[in-house]
């Protein structure tokens, strides 16, 4: 019995020892699994991703990208818009004295790549969502993908306009490898192929229109128009003409004179119009500045007009280009009563009314654009959506493409006439043009008057130069127009290719693929 008892105790001890040792050292590992919810996501997550990508267009609170800085890069260097002395970054762009550290160049680069990254993430996320299985539709999924791909194409269009070759980022971070941390420059043609495939997908999958509440979302028309713009930049005239023709008569038209014409197109009461093909949505709600508005309203007009900042002064020579009966001149501050009660007017020399300065009369030194009315004194919110592509651009782009393709032709003249007749000018006739060059010059002169302060300036000057020189000297028109506006003519250098901005300093510092001489030929 004693023995048994002893052994029994040993038996218990053995069990305890076995279990105890298992707990402290030989503990079985827990089983482990990873559950990735990607394929079960709510289609609302797709909508969220799409809206987030649109939000990148107004990056950096009220000033960034399409809310402001992109237009600094596209308008300041041209011969129409000047910069105020207080804006050092703006003056550098205006006077062509910028370098890689210019903060506006850096800012636009960051905004563009922020949009691209967001689009890449959104594309992967939307692709992984089972829309149909979660109560939505395949069409909505395709639309969401079309929207983010349209926006990515727009960002790459801008990037290639500004810098030529740029890094091609086209996948979500989950697929990125270490080498992708420092992306090399991809040549412009490859990027453009990528833009084209994005836009072809977008035009095939986006709706022709959205309900009113969804204004400012990309349509198939927007994708086609941007594709036309790209073909034009590539001097692929036939493709451009064909693509642009697909939009003509498809639910868009010019705002007619009966509706108030071009002046009313930019009136604060006209929040949307079927002349606008794609816009940056802006709000006139008090306090929406930096949230959902743009910086153009407050920057466009001068202090004594309505307490604006006057950061886009327009040279009087530009005012002088207009026929007094041209409605488009009314979108400039030719004559106004200042907040102090004086009359400020352009002098007769430049086509205005003023004869001489007096106690109550000021001779204008500059004029200012009225395309972006602001909500009121000190309220920086803008009434108007920022036009990114409008129908008159489509008409003029097709006119240009057909002229390059076929020489002077009646359809090009008719398209041009549609645009200028709307502003009260008489028609051109075919006989007014001796040759392709003459019609091209007329188209670009009219584009200048039609699209001032709409971000087209730089692209237009370069494309004009390319066509006029048959591709041999893209800067010929840029130089002809811009050099006379430089305070110091020696700011211009024939060794700098002004077609492309320098790659931003911030990118050079963080991306080891960009060598020290990357900006050779891009800055003085």
């Amino acid at each position: 019995m004693q023995l048994i008892k002893y052994n029994h105790r040993n038996f218990l001890l053995a069990i305890v020892a076995l279990l105890a040792s298992a707990c402290t050292s030989g503990l079985e590992d827990e089983t482990y699994s990873v559950y990735d919810a990607n394929t079960l996501t709510d289609p609302n997550s797709g909508e969220l991703a799409v809206r987030g990508t649109y939000a990148s267009l107004k990056d950096n609170g009220g000033f960034g990208y399409y809310a402001g800085y992109l237009y600094w890069l596209n308008e300041y260097p041209g011969e129409v818009v000047s910069a105020t002395l207080t804006s050092r970054q703006g003056v550098q762009l205006d006077q062509l004295t910028y370098d890689a550290s210019n903060s506006t160049i850096n800012d636009v680069w960051s905004s563009i790549y922020r949009l691209i990254s967001r689009a890449n993430e959104s594309e992967a996320l939307i692709s992984a969502i089972d829309y149909v299985g979660n109560g939505s539709s395949a069409a909505l999924k395709a639309q969401h993908l079309g929207e983010v791909r349209f926006l990515r194409a727009l960002a790459y269009y801008d990037a290639t306009s500004l810098w030529g070759g740029v890094p091609l980022l086209n996948k979500p971070s989950s697929e990125s490898k270490e080498a992708d941390e420092n992306p090399a420059i991809t040549d412009q043609a490859t990027i453009e192929d990528f833009i084209i495939s994005d836009l072809q997908f977008a035009e095939a999958n986006l709706p022709e229109s959205f309900e009113a509440a969804q204004i400012a979302r990309a349509t198939s028309g927007a994708a086609k128009a941007l594709l036309g713009r790209l073909y034009l930049r590539r001097m692929e005239w036939q493709k451009a003409a064909d693509k642009l023709q697909e939009i003509i008569g498809k639910g868009y038209d010019l705002r007619t004179r009966a509706e108030g014409g071009i002046v009313s197109l930019f009136d604060k009461s006209n929040r949307s119009d079927n002349e606008f093909i794609f816009v940056l949505k802006s709000s006139n709600e008090s306090g929406s500045y930096t949230i959902n508005s743009n910086s153009f309203g407050i920057n466009s007009t001068p202090w004594d007009y309505n307490r604006g900042w006057g950061n886009f002064p327009i040279l009087l020579n530009f005012y002088a280009l207009f026929d007094p009966t041209d409605d488009r001149r009314k979108l400039l501050t030719g004559k106004y009563t200042t907040i102090y009660g004086q009359i400020e007017a352009v002098s007769k020399e430049y086509g205005g009314e003023a004869t001489e300065a007096g106690k109550d009369t000021i001779i204008a030194k500059y004029v200012y654009n009225l395309k972006y009315p602001q909500a009121g004194n000190y309220d920086y919110a803008g009434f108007n959506n920022v036009p990114i592509i409008r129908y008159s651009d489509v008409l003029m782009m097709r006119a240009e493409a057909l002229n390059e393709l076929n020489g002077i032709n009646q359809e090009s003249v008719d398209l041009l006439n549609q645009v200028i007749n709307r502003s009260g000018l008489p028609s051109y006739s075919l006989a007014d043009f001796a040759n392709t060059d003459a019609l091209r010059d007329a188209i670009f002169e009219e584009r200048n008057k039609e699209f001032f302060m709409e971000g087209r300036k730089r692209d237009d000057l370069i494309r004009w130069g390319k066509s006029a020189s048959h591709g041999t000297d893209p800067l010929i028109k840029f130089k002809e127009k811009v050099v006379p506006t430089l305070t110091n003519a020696s700011s211009w250098s024939d060794n700098v290719n002004y077609m492309y901005y320098p790659y931003p300093q911030s990118e050079i510092q963080s991306n080891t693929s960009l060598g020290a001489d990357i900006n050779k030929g891009r800055v003085k």
Binding site: A22, T31, I291
Partner: protein, 465 residues
């Protein structure tokens, strides 16, 4: 012989029923863990844990190679647990393990990896512009809550370097957010079309992303849009500022006989969203006493901050009146008005305009952001109010350099005892300054900041067991 048999028996048993036997009779063990990744949120991860015995669990996690260890909150006693990593930075490699205890025994899981991805949602971004070495120690474990008003909106928590460590995205904009004493985030959500930081939803979120309370206008007791402010009082009730309207006869000032005057109010809900009380400023203002009523009637006074005091009464800030009111609860009576044409004697140099962010400091003083509509200089002001003699003594005037003037929005609060935190909307900056207004820390914000709050208790750096 018996010993041999017994040992063989035990060995055999343990081979046959080893796991089950242990789990049935043995001590606490973590049996299964599952990491849940959701694309809806790139920073937050759920870890589901099964244990063999009822216990409490806690998650321990850290950036690979770092010594800064973080912990989750502790799960309730049970065998099935849900833990959350809710303080992580994007694009980092993390390691984590689960700790469990039933009082007698503390066990740990193996260590597993997880990688955070970049945030694709529309969150604002923050750039650390400057951080003075003198403040580094106090900032090390400090986090802040802010929000983005744009559609899509988001509410975000950032660390002192401006890195986002937690966020939640919304289709609508997030108009204002508030960190509660329950470690939850309370916010007003609404479309961009509602002005004045207004919204049609009140949402309370846990750090695990769970919606704890969701009030929508038109449902239940929420019958008015809310704006500018939503907070919890001492008892956990929720209060917010409302838009109110009143019909008034304005025919004597060229208005309508039945004209509408719009203004602001207060609403108080209990924890479940039942309306307990409401108040309208329009019941305490006479339209005909205001010579500008035909202009002001669209938004009279422009309320922009609300704060419930320990005594149950409310402080209410009116931007356009340049006044703070004390409103009695529950009578609704206006006890006093402080500021321009108010009831208090005060230093004219301390007169504020277009102010925001009225609140009580830890010392019981009245603090606000003087946006400085009249001076074009923004500053923080701290007052000691003698509500009997109606004298206001200015304790601190923290004046910012002119470049930080903000026409609208923004807030301020003490940071520690002798520094001040600012959120400044127009210059898009978050600042911490000395009491002299000397900038010690600055984050530049890409986006529109409305409010910034320091959020004590967010980071957990110590194990609970």
């Amino acid at each position: 012989m018996f010993i041999t048999v017994a040992v063989l028996l035990v060995a055999g048993l343990s081979l046959l029923f080893r796991q089950e036997l242990r789990d049935l009779f043995g001590p606490l063990r973590i049996s299964h863990m599952e990491l849940v990744k959701s694309p809806a949120n790139r920073l937050r991860f759920e870890i589901k844990v099964n244990t063999t015995r009822a216990c409490r669990t806690q998650l321990k996690y850290w950036i690979k190679g770092s010594h800064d260890t973080l912990y989750s909150t502790v799960s309730a006693e049970g065998k099935i647990h849900r833990l959350f990593m809710s303080n992580t930075r994007a694009r980092k490699h993390y390691s984590f393990c689960v700790l469990a205890t039933n009082g007698k025994r503390r066990v740990a899981s193996k260590i597993y990896p997880v990688e955070t991805q970049p945030i694709y949602q529309a969150t604002p971004y923050f750039t650390l512009a400057y951080s003075d070495p003198s403040i580094a120690g106090d900032l090390a474990h400090t986090y802040f809550l802010t929000q983005i008003l744009t559609e899509p909106g988001s509410v975000v928590i950032i660390d002192h370097q401006g890195d986002i460590v937690w966020y939640e995205a919304f289709l609508k904009g997030v108009k204002v957010s508030h960190w509660t004493k329950d470690r939850t985030v309370l916010c007003i959500v609404g479309p961009e079309s509602i002005p004045s930081s207004g919204g049609d939803e009140i949402v309370e979120l846990g750090l695990d992303g769970r919606v704890l309370l969701h009030l929508k206008k038109g449902e239940g007791d929420m019958d008015k849009l809310v704006h500018h402010e939503v907070r919890k009082d001492r008892d956990g009730n929720i209060y917010a500022m409302t838009f109110t309207a009143k019909v008034a006869d304005l025919s004597s000032v060229k208005g309508l006989r039945q004209d509408t005057v719009k203004g602001d109010g207060i609403v108080l809900f209990n924890k479940r969203g039942k309306k307990l009380w409401e108040w309208s400023a329009l019941d305490h203002l006479d339209p005909l006493s205001n010579p500008n009523i035909m202009i002001d009637k669209k938004d009279w006074g422009h309320g922009n901050a609300l704060f419930r005091l320990e005594d149950g009464n409310f402080l209410f800030s009116f931007r356009d009146l340049n006044q703070i009111w004390k409103v009695a609860y529950p009578s609704g009576k206006v006890l006093w008005k402080f500021g321009e044409q108010g009831d208090f004697q005060m230093d004219p140099n301390s007169m504020f305009s277009a102010q925001h962010s009225i609140h009580i400091t830890a010392d019981g003083h009245y603090m606000l952001l003087d946006n400085g509509d009249k001076t074009k200089i923004s500053r923080a002001l701290v007052f000691d109010l003698d509500t009997v003699t109606k004298e206001a003594k200015t304790l601190h005037t923290v004046t910012l350099p002119a470049e930080y003037y903000s026409t609208v929005k923004g807030n301020t609060a003490l940071f520690g005892k002798n520094r001040v935190l600012f959120c400044l909307t127009d210059p898009r900056a978050f600042l911490i300054t000395t009491m002299d207004g000397h900038v010690l820390w600055k984050l530049q914000v890409g986006g529109d900041p409305y409010r910034l709050e320091e959020i004590p208790g967010f980071e957990i750096t110590k194990p609970a067991f």
